[in-house]
């Protein structure tokens, strides 16, 4: 899809981040890994974009590249990453470093491994201030206590003097969020922020991210493999498969009018209360190797609806209306028919 189409998706608001045909290829001894194959996405100000896909679909690599954490030294990168009018791929490392933390921040999947085990939590948050601003150690510490309080950690003063292993999983993720929010970034990238947490804590953390988003006026990219998670918290959703965006739309497009067999599979594998089905329907087969992608549509070997062109032509991500696009050869009417018949309608 072109950047123009991406622009049409989702809520209104000024464009903050725009990826246009981003390609990331890692040369390895076994061959070239096509981790990201032509991804175009857009995030508007104040929007939450959900990026859904299974492991290896390229969702994390895409946003690590945005942050400049996948570098040109490690991978072949092409395309553009437009952030507030400047192409991040053309920025020197110094510039990128000042953007990281300042303008774009990231939180990681497992807060225990993402926090430094031998530094006090308060010191770690203070580090972010000290790395970017001229500030005394005492000021930075006071700020980090304030942040811990803001993200709902009780006794922030005492807690700031503790080490990560003395925190519970949920509190660690809160501390990570505090760290990410330190410099009031415009964009928060949350890479599976709740995967390592208990279900009850998951909800709290997602609510916290929502609340912080409103408070700071940020945009959020929520990377997850769980469509159930993004349902409540995202304005628009991009579904990724084998390094490509295969469906893109606002939340209702994906949940009520999905146009891609892979998304249907994901929707059908979410357990729901009150549904008659005894068994969940899994997507058959395994994701393809990124070194050796199948010809045509990457999903065709697993797709129950494949037909003539699927193993020959790569389907383009085409808009079906203003803000909904999918990459599938099936005719639109056919997609709508199958969706209403075979996919369990939500809510």
């Amino acid at each position: 899809m072109t950047a123009q189409a991406a622009r049409d998706v989702g809520v209104t608001g000024a464009m903050l981040l725009e990826l246009d045909s981003l390609n990331v290829r890692f040369p390895t001894e076994d061959g070239v890994v096509r981790a990201v194959g032509g991804v175009s996405l857009a995030v508007r100000e104040g929007e939450t974009l959900g990026v859904v896909g299974e492991s290896g679909s390229g969702k994390s690599v895409t946003f690590l590249t945005v942050l400049g954490l996948v570098t040109k030294a490690q991978a072949d990168i092409s395309g553009t990453i437009d952030f507030r009018g400047q192409d991040l791929l053309q920025q020197p490392e110094d510039e990128l470093r000042s953007i990281r933390g300042n303008d774009i921040a990231m939180i990681f999947q497992d807060p225990l491994t993402a926090l430094n085990p031998v530094l006090r939590v308060g010191d770690q948050i203070a580090e972010v201030f000290l790395a970017h601003q001229k500030m005394s150690k005492a000021e930075a510490m006071a700020q980090s206590v304030e942040l811990l309080d803001l993200v709902g950690i009780p006794k922030p003063k005492e807690r700031s003097r503790q080490y990560p292993h003395e925190f519970s999983g949920g509190m660690r993720q809160r501390a990570m969020i505090a760290m990410a929010l330190a410099l009031k970034p415009a964009l928060l990238i949350a890479d599976e922020p709740t995967t390592a947490l208990d279900v009850t804590v998951q909800a709290q953390i997602l609510e916290l991210i929502d609340r912080m988003k409103d408070e700071f006026g940020m945009s959020v990219v929520l990377i997850t493999h769980d469509l159930g998670v993004v349902a409540e918290h995202c304005d628009s959703i991009a579904v990724m498969y084998a390094g490509k965006v295969i469906e893109y739309g606002d939340r209702d497009d994906i949940y009520y009018r999905s146009e891609h067999p892979y998304t249907w599979g994901l929707l059908n594998s979410i357990p729901r209360l009150g549904e008659g089905a005894d068994r969940l329907e899994p997507i058959r087969g395994l994701p393809p190797s990124l070194i050796n992608l199948p010809p045509g549509c990457s999903f065709h070997p697993r797709c129950p609806y494949r037909f003539e062109p699927c193993d020959k032509e790569i389907p383009a991500l085409l808009p079906s209306d203003g803000h909904h696009a999918s990459a599938c050869h099936l005719p639109l009417e056919e997609k709508q028919r199958i969706f209403s018949e075979r996919v369990v309608a939500t809510g």
Binding site: R97, A105, M106, T113, A114, L119, V128, K155, E158, R161
Partner: protein, 344 residues
């Protein structure tokens, strides 16, 4: 009622903060505290005494890595005893003027080569100098050289190792080849040549020895950094915009401190030994400044006629090196909770 409990904790925290802090926040907080105080008993989980709840809430246990290591170190008996003995030796040589009425260069030709007695605990040498005094003062130099070399070598080695391990690639290759080069030089020969070039002073000896003691630290630290740089917290630090220098020294170095401390402790022992070898060969620090090494050198022709002159400095070196090694051993166990066996 998780909500009530949380709210209660939050208010308790506010209350404590108000107590702990000064006037600035007093006014708004006072109100909140008052509100907290007004909260009826329903805010507390049933059956919980308010005072008890207060006390329990305040008791957040803080046990740092360092404290845990110290706890494990205390269990290592040999290391603890060695620590005490080493401290006594250090204090002894620092407090030398208080422990003896002689000076280390004061000769007394009327009483040369006397055996140990109440007047001269360790006897006297050919010039009638008090051997006890000379061993004490010699300890100053030997210990100073040992610790100074260990510190300098550790700083150089850790920096080189950290840079090599963190950046990898050609820089790693270059630095490690230099390290190999230093390791493959017959270092006693170079030390002797170096001391001839630089001179026999304390500072010269420290510099020369430091140049040949950093390689072990460099290798250890490089290995640690190689594996650590893949950890997520390093990536998280990078994602928050930390510079490479900040990541290497502020984020990663504290994680490598355990092995570094162990290595540098062992370097103290090795440096003390090497200094005494150098001095014994006559290329180290020159008399009349005594070191344990040159005391041995002085006494080598008298090993049979005046064995005490070789015995006491020798024992001093032996005990010190033994203690330092045991401490290093204890530290290794302390910093490595997974390490099962005692490495002896």
């Amino acid at each position: 009622m998780p909500d009530a409990t949380e709210e209660f904790q939050r208010r308790q925290a506010l209350k404590e903060e108000a107590k702990a802090e000064g006037s600035l926040h007093d006014i708004p907080l006072q109100r909140e505290v008052a509100a907290a105080a007004d909260v009826p008993g329903a805010q507390l989980p049933p059956g919980v005494d308010r005072e008890l709840a207060d006390a329990a809430g305040a008791g957040i246990v803080i046990a740092s890595q360092r404290e845990l290591a110290w706890r494990r170190f205390k269990k290592h008996k040999a290391a603890m005893v060695s620590g005490v003995v080493l401290i006594i030796i250090i204090i002894g040589s620092l407090a030398a003027p208080l422990l003896t009425s002689y000076t280390f260069s004061e000769t007394d030709v009327t009483s040369p080569l006397q055996g140990p007695s109440m007047k001269h605990y360790f006897g006297t040498d050919t010039l009638g100098r008090d051997a006890f005094t000379r061993v004490l003062y010699g300890g100053r130099i030997s210990l100073l050289v040992g610790f100074a070399v260990a510190i300098i070598a550790t700083v150089i080695g850790a920096t080189i190792g950290a840079i090599a391990g963190y950046y990898g690639g050609w820089l790693d290759n270059l630095l490690m080849r230099v390290t190999d080069l230093f390791l493959s030089v017959p270092f006693l020969v170079v030390l002797i040549l170096g001391s001839l070039l630089l001179g026999p002073g304390v500072l010269d000896t420290v510099i020369i020895l430091s140049l040949f003691f950093w390689m072990y630290d460099a290798r250890i630290v490089r290995g640690i950094y190689l594996s650590m740089k893949e950890k997520e917290f390093v990536e998280a630090a990078r994602a928050s915009g930390a510079s490479n220098r900040r990541i290497i020294f502020r984020e990663m170095l504290p994680n490598a401190m355990g092995p570094i401390i162990v290595a540098s402790t062992l370097a103290v022992a090795a440096a003390i030994l090497t200094e005494s070898v150098l001095s014994f060969l006559g290329y180290g620090i020159q008399p009349p400044t005594p070191t344990w090494g040159n005391l041995l050198d002085d006494a080598r022709n008298l090993a049979v006629s005046a064995p005490w002159l070789i015995l006491f400095p020798g024992i001093a070196i032996l005990i010190t090196v033994l203690c330092v090694n045991y401490i290093g051993d204890g530290l290794r166990d302390a910093f490595d909770p997974q390490g099962q066996g005692k490495s002896l």
